[in-house]
Structure formats: structure tokens, C-alpha cells
């Protein structure tokens, strides 16, 4: 299992994406079978990779790289599900670039654990998972929004679906858009609240002040603020519950998510200055595999904790 690398499933997804693009113009006999095989093989390798590293780290979102891979995995799983549920749809043309992009970003992201500090295992894990789910929901909303705009553009120009290019109906995309916006608001709000609680566990007012100086904290808060504003806007303005306006809202949400991810890559997921290291509670950081860093060793309360994950 340790032989499976990011390149294995990244390449599988990329081949599936190439087949999706080629299918716009020509489809050979085994086109769909090969495409499904590549996507399923990629997802399988991706699952094994995450599972294997979760056994090493005791958390699937322990590092920024893990975090990206988990988001990519959920999107890839949705794509594979869509291959069977909507066999004629061209959803892959939209979702696979995002999956491949996330895998590529993961390959170049930090493998250092999220701020291995003391705190609550539960709240740390919850914080990381809810933000990951929020990112998935925002991404799904973005994909649905992009597809909505393309579909609407085609329909306005009287272009019928072709054999190689068929998208879900506007009605379906609108439902997905609305749901994605709602769920992303809930998940991101949950993630931020869990983060606030986690910061209280850790400590002092001074720590809280330093958190607000952290770009990752305020970009996450900005994303949450935008999602709340978008939901309120949809609530008070009925026209924003339909059509292109919802699509625009989800596209904008994705813009805020990108800001947050840039901040995460910039800070490496660490929200605050490194704590003072004491000899009797040091986190030994060992290289668990060739491309990953693994945090081991208990703190003085008997457990390890990471910002966005647990160990």
C-alpha cells in the first residue's frame, strides 16, 4: 500500500479527464468503459492512499496535503457516482479538472501536521472535517453554478445537447446550487465555531488576539460571512432563489474559498506561533514515509492534537 503515490491516482483522474475531453468530438468503442475504469481505479488508489496514511496519522485531515486530498476524494467519489447515475452527462468535464487541480495542489502542499499543539482531540477533528466538508459543498456549488451558466448560455443560443456534451437540466443544477450554498454555510459555520471553541481550550486572550491576525482565520471568517450574507440575500430576495443569481452566488463563494485555500497554503495551516517546546512533552516529528511527516508522541495530558486534525 505504501507504493501507492499521489501520482498513481492523479494520473488516473487525468486520463479520465482526457477521455472526457476527447469524447466531445469522438468516442471509440470502449471509450466509456476505459473512462469508468480509469476513474474507479483512481478512486480506489486514492482511497487506499488516504486509508493507509490515516492509519499512520490517526486522522485523514492531519496535514494541508491530506486536507486537499480528502476534498478531492469526495469530489472524485461524486464524479464516479455520477458516471453511473447520469451516464450521458458531461459532468466530468467540470468536476475532473477540479479534482486533478486539488490533487496537484496537494502534491505541492505542506506535509507538516496542522499546528501540533495541545487542545481537544474532538474539537480539532471536528474543525478540520467540517471545513473540509464546507470546501466540498462550496466546490459542488461552484461546479453546478458553472454548469448552469454554460447550459443556460447554450439554451439561449438554441444549441441542443450533442452526443459528446450533455449537462443536467437547469432545474437539477438550480437545486444543487441552492443545496450546496445552504450546506456550505452550515459546514463552514460549524467549522469556524469548532475552531473558536478549540482556541478557547488552548488558552488565553492573547492567543485569541493572535488568531485574528492570522490570514487563514480571517479568510475563513470572510468565507463564512459571505455564505451567511448569500443565504440571507436568498431569503429576503425571492428572485435570488432561482436561475443565474444562485449560480453567481456559488461562483462568488468559490472565490472566497480560493482565498481561504491560498491563505492555508501560505500559513501551512498553522494559526498561531509555535508553542514553547518542553522537554517532557515534545512532539517528536518523524518521517513516516518518503513523502510525509508524521507526528507522534503524547503531550503532557496524554494525547496529541493538531489544528484541523488529531494524532
Amino acid at each position: 500500500m505504501q507504493n501507492i503515490t499521489i501520482f498513481c491516482f492523479g494520473a488516473s483522474y487525468f486520463v479520465a479527464l482526457v477521455l472526457e475531453v476527447v469524447g466531445l468530438w469522438a468516442r471509440f468503442g470502449w471509450h466509456r468503459v476505459v473512462m469508468i475504469a480509469m476513474a474507479v481505479a483512481g478512486l480506489f488508489a486514492h482511497t487506499i492512499y488516504l486509508a493507509y496514511h490515516a492509519t499512520l496519522d490517526a486522522a485523514a485531515v492531519g496535514t494541508p496535503a491530506d486536507w486537499y486530498l480528502v476534498v478531492a476524494w469526495v469530489l472524485a467519489a461524486l464524479y464516479v457516482g455520477g458516471l453511473f447515475a447520469m451516464p450521458k452527462s458531461s459532468v466530468g468535464l467540470f468536476s475532473l479538472p477540479l479534482v486533478v487541480g486539488l490533487v496537484v495542489v496537494a502534491a505541492y502542499s505542506s506535509n507538516s501536521p496542522f499546528a501540533p499543539q495541545r487542545g481537544s482531540v474532538f474539537w480539532g477533528g471536528l474543525h478540520g472535517w467540517l471545513l473540509a466538508l464546507g470546501a466540498v459543498a462550496v466546490s459542488v456549488g461552484f461546479l453546478a453554478g458553472a454548469m448552469y451558466l454554460v447550459q443556460s448560455w447554450r439554451l439561449k443560443r438554441k444549441l441542443p445537447p450533442t452526443r459528446g456534451f450533455r449537462l443536467p437540466s437547469l432545474e437539477t443544477l438550480e437545486h444543487v446550487n441552492g443545496a450546496a450554498l445552504g450546506f456550505s454555510a452550515i459546514f463552514v459555520a460549524g467549522g469556524v465555531i469548532a475552531g473558536v471553541i478549540l482556541s478557547r481550550f488552548r488558552g488565553s486572550a492573547a492567543t485569541a488576539t493572535s488568531l485574528w491576525a492570522d490570514p487563514l482565520v480571517w479568510t475563513s471568517s470572510l468565507l463564512l460571512l459571505w455564505l451567511v450574507v448569500a443565504e440571507v440575500f436568498r431569503w429576503v430576495y425571492p428572485a435570488a432563489r432561482h436561475g443565474r443569481k444562485v449560480a453567481y452566488l456559488t461562483l462568488a463563494s468559490f472565490g472566497f474559498l480560493i482565498l481561504t485555500l491560498v491563505a492555508m497554503n501560505w500559513t501551512g495551516g498553522v494559526h498561531e506561533p509555535k508553542p514553547e517546546v518542553r522537554s517532557n512533552s515534545i512532539h517528536r516529528v518523524e518521517r513516516a514515509s518518503s513523502d510525509r511527516i508524521h507526528a507522534v508522541g503524547p503531550d503532557e495530558s496524554g494525547h496529541c492534537e493538531r489544528w484541523g486534525g488529531t494524532a
Binding site: L155, P160, R163, L170, E171, G243
Partner: protein, 425 residues
């Protein structure tokens, strides 16, 4: 096998005569029963659709008077039309041409709308009626089974059926379905009550639509259409309210000027809809909706010209698939005829084998009587030897018959076999 078909279709015969010769399912039943009473040895089936009326007959051997004449007379009798009045309008096909024609009809290559799917169910219905009234026998079974197989091959191996070319079907399948996932909870407003509206409603109902509202200047026609489609009727004065409520609008009035102008739409409809998607199919000529309405947010307006482009594109795509479909028809026709000729040789082969087996059995009996001390193992070995000998002797004539049947009716060879081995008819 002798096959014959007499009939008319949209290719050469006008709608007036086709209407006179058309059969309802009850009339088809009556015609088949009458045929069976007069010609119990001749299988028959009748295909009557809006585009064709064709009477088929199948028999093991040609009969006098020629089958085609009997078929023409039968068609004329059923409608009490003088034979001379229709003879020149009817097409007559025989044997291989009948098979090829049946395959083309079932595969929808002979239809007015190439690739339309309804014809296959009409062919099946013709077969069921013939079975029900006892006029379908082994020949009809073989013809229909092969026709259905060919239709399936053409459907699966070509893209002929994929492209729709009627305007309402393109509008619903290629556009309305891209806007709405389902139609059962959608409100359909029909402005005007023309034939195109009727046809579009049929497609919408097939797609699952259930809520129809009809608005027409003539209430009488609106009520009639509403009754037909289990819809409701609204007053013309309520047009703007119905436009606000509707999800799909089909407009087919004969008005000389736009029924819904851009200003009207903006003032009375757009704001109240709160940007809910609206599909408008404007089938009127001149158009009922100002084309600029199509630029409004969440409004998808399609006129006949918009859809005609899609129809023409589909028609061209279909034409590309035709050679492939025709090649399947030719391939299956050759195969079917070869199999039919093989079947025709079966009685002679069976008779010949029977004669050989009789001689073999008699000679084995004579031998075993002369050798009473022979044990069972030896008897079995001798019997197997005799079987092998008969099989090897029969193999060359059988193979020659098979080869001959592939190239045409092996009647000469069959006759020679009968004479050489003194087989009785």
C-alpha cells in the same frame, strides 16, 4: 417459399386513396378472417398505418391465379371499391423484395419521418392480429421474427433513431428537457388550439406533463382541447396571470400580430415570475411572442425557425447513417432468404435420411439374424459402423444442397435427388 405484397404508401399514393384503403384494427381482423376462409393454405397479414396499407401473403409454393391479383381483389372487396380503380395505385412486390421491404418498414427506413419509433409497434400489432385470427403460420413467424431482429439491429448499430426531426419532438426532448428535470409538477399553458399545439401536448403528456391550461379566443375549441387532454380552460383576459403561473408555454394562435409584446411581458409578467425559468414554444406564423422576449432573464423562447435548424441538422445526421442501415437490411435479407431455402430442403433431406435409415435397419436385422451368436458389444459396434456409413454417404449430397441453397432456390438439385433416390413428393 413464395411471398407477395400488395399495397400503397406515402411514397406514391396520395392521402385521399390511403384514407379510402385504411383499416381500423377491427377491419383488419375482419379482412384476415375473410382471407383465411377463402385461402386457408395461404398465410396473410395486413399492416395499416396513416402512411401505408399493405397486405402480405406467404405460401409454400406459388398458386394460381397469381397471388398479387388475389391480394388486390381482397383489398378492393374489403372496402367495396372496384378493383380497376385501385389497381394502378398499388405496388406489388414478390419474394426477396417483400422480405427487404418488410425489414425496411420495421426498421423505419421506409417511414415518412426516417427513424420514427412508432412503426415498430404497428408492425408488432399487425403480427399479433394475424396470430390472433389464425392467418400467421411458420412463414409469417419467420418473417416477423427476422423483421424485429433487423429493426433492433438498425436501432442499436446506427444512430438513425437518435436524432429527432419533428419540431415539437425536438422542442420537448432537446430543449424543454434541458430546462426541466420532470414535467409532472409543471404547468403548461397553451395559447391557441391549433394542430401543432395538439401534437406538442401529446409529446408533453408522454414526457409526464399533467397540468394543462388552454387559452383561446374561441372558447368552444379551447374546451374541446381541454377535454381531450384533461386540462382546464382560462379566459383570454387572464393571459398575463397564466403567463406568470406557467412553466411551459405553447403558442399557436393565428393572430396577425404578436400576442405578447416585449413591453407587455416586462410590465405584466417578468417581475411577478421572480426569475423562475420559462420555456416558450412559439409555433405560430407570424410569431405570437416578440423575439426579444427570449433575451429576458430565465426566459427560453423557441420559434419554428430556431427548431427547424436543429431538425435539419438531425436530418443530415440521419442521412449519414442511412448507408449503414441499408447495409444491415441487405445483409439480413440475404441471410433470411438463405435460411428459408435451407428450410425448404428439410423435408427432402428428412425423407432421404428416412429411406437410408430404413435400408440400414433392414440390413442390420438381416445380418444379426444370420449371426445369432454375436454378443451385444459386437452388435453395437456393427450398428455404429452402419450409422457412420449412412452419415458419410449422405454428407456430400447434403453439403451440395446447402451450397446450392446459399446461391438460390435449389429446386433442380432437389428434383434430381427425388428422381435419383425415387423419393415421393
Amino acid at each position: 417459399m413464395k411471398l407477395c405484397m400488395v399495397g400503397c404508401s406515402h411514397h406514391h399514393t396520395g392521402v385521399a386513396l390511403r384514407e379510402r384503403l385504411a383499416f381500423t384494427p377491427e377491419q383488419v381482423a375482419g379482412a384476415l378472417v375473410a382471407w383465411h376462409a377463402e385461402n386457408p393454405d395461404v398465410e396473410a397479414w395486413l399492416l395499416s398505418t396513416c402512411n401505408r396499407v399493405e397486405l402480405y401473403a406467404a405460401m409454400k409454393q406459388a398458386q394460381e391465379p397469381t397471388s398479387a391479383e388475389r391480394l388486390v381483389e381482397h383489398l378492393a372487396q374489403q372496402h367495396t371499391i372496384p378493383v380497376d380503380e385501385i389497381r394502378s395505385e398499388l405496388v406489388e412486390l414478390n419474394d426477396a423484395d417483400v422480405v427487404r421491404h418488410m425489414f425496411r418498414v420495421a426498421a423505419s427506413l421506409d417511414s415518412m419521418v426516417l427513424g420514427e419509433p412508432q412503426i415498430l409497434s404497428q408492425v408488432k400489432q399487425a403480427y399479433e392480429l394475424a396470430c390472433e385470427h389464425g392467418t400467421a403460420g411458420p412463414l409469417a413467424h419467420a418473417c416477423f421474427q427476422a423483421s424485429l431482429r433487423v429493426a433492433r439491429r438498425v436501432a442499436s448499430e446506427t444512430d438513425l433513431h437518435r436524432h429527432r426531426i419533428s419540431i415539437p419532438s425536438v422542442a420537448i426532448a432537446d430543449f424543454a428537457r434541458q430546462i426541466f428535470e420532470s414535467f409532472d409538477d409543471k404547468r403548461v399553458l397553451v395559447i391557441g388550439a391549433g394542430e401543432m399545439a395538439d401534437e406538442t401536448l401529446r409529446y408533453l403528456q408522454d414526457a409526464g406533463a399533467r397540468q394543462f391550461v388552454i387559452i383561446n379566443r374561441s372558447q368552444e375549441r379551447a374546451i374541446q382541447l381541454a377535454r381531450e387532454w384533461h386540462g382546464t380552460v382560462a379566459n383570454w383576459s387572464d393571459l398575463h396571470r397564466e403567463l406568470v403561473e406557467a412553466d411551459l408555454v405553447i403558442s399557436t394562435t393565428a393572430a396577425g400580430q404578436p400576442v405578447v409584446t416585449l413591453d407587455y411581458f416586462r410590465q405584466h409578467v417578468a417581475n411577478e415570475r421572480e426569475q423562475r425559468p420559462l420555456f416558450v414554444l412559439d409555433l405560430a406564423m407570424p410569431r405570437d411572442f416578440d423575439p426579444r422576449i427570449g433575451d429576458e432573464v430565465a426566459t427560453y423562447l423557441y420559434s419554428i425557425d430556431d427548431l427547424r435548424t436543429a431538425c435539419d441538422r438531425n436530418r443530415k445526421s440521419r442521412a449519414k447513417e442511412l448507408p449503414k442501415a441499408e447495409s444491415i437490411i441487405e445483409d439480413e435479407t440475404v441471410k433470411f432468404l438463405a435460411e428459408s431455402r435451407h428450410r425448404a430442403t428439410v423435408p427432402v433431406i428428412a425423407q432421404l435420411r428416412g429411406e437410408f435409415d430404413t435400408v440400414k435397419a433392414a440390413e442390420l436385422q438381416r445380418l444379426f439374424n444370420k449371426l445369432p451368436a454375436t454378443d451385444d458389444a459386437t452388435r453395437d459396434e456393427i450398428t455404429r459402423f452402419a450409422d457412420r456409413l449412412v452419415n458419410k454417404l449422405l454428407h456430400p449430397p447434403m453439403e451440395s444442397l446447402r451450397m446450392e441453397a446459399n446461391n438460390g432456390a435449389p429446386s433442380g438439385l432437389l428434383d434430381a435427388l427425388r428422381r435419383l433416390f425415387q423419393l415421393k413428393e
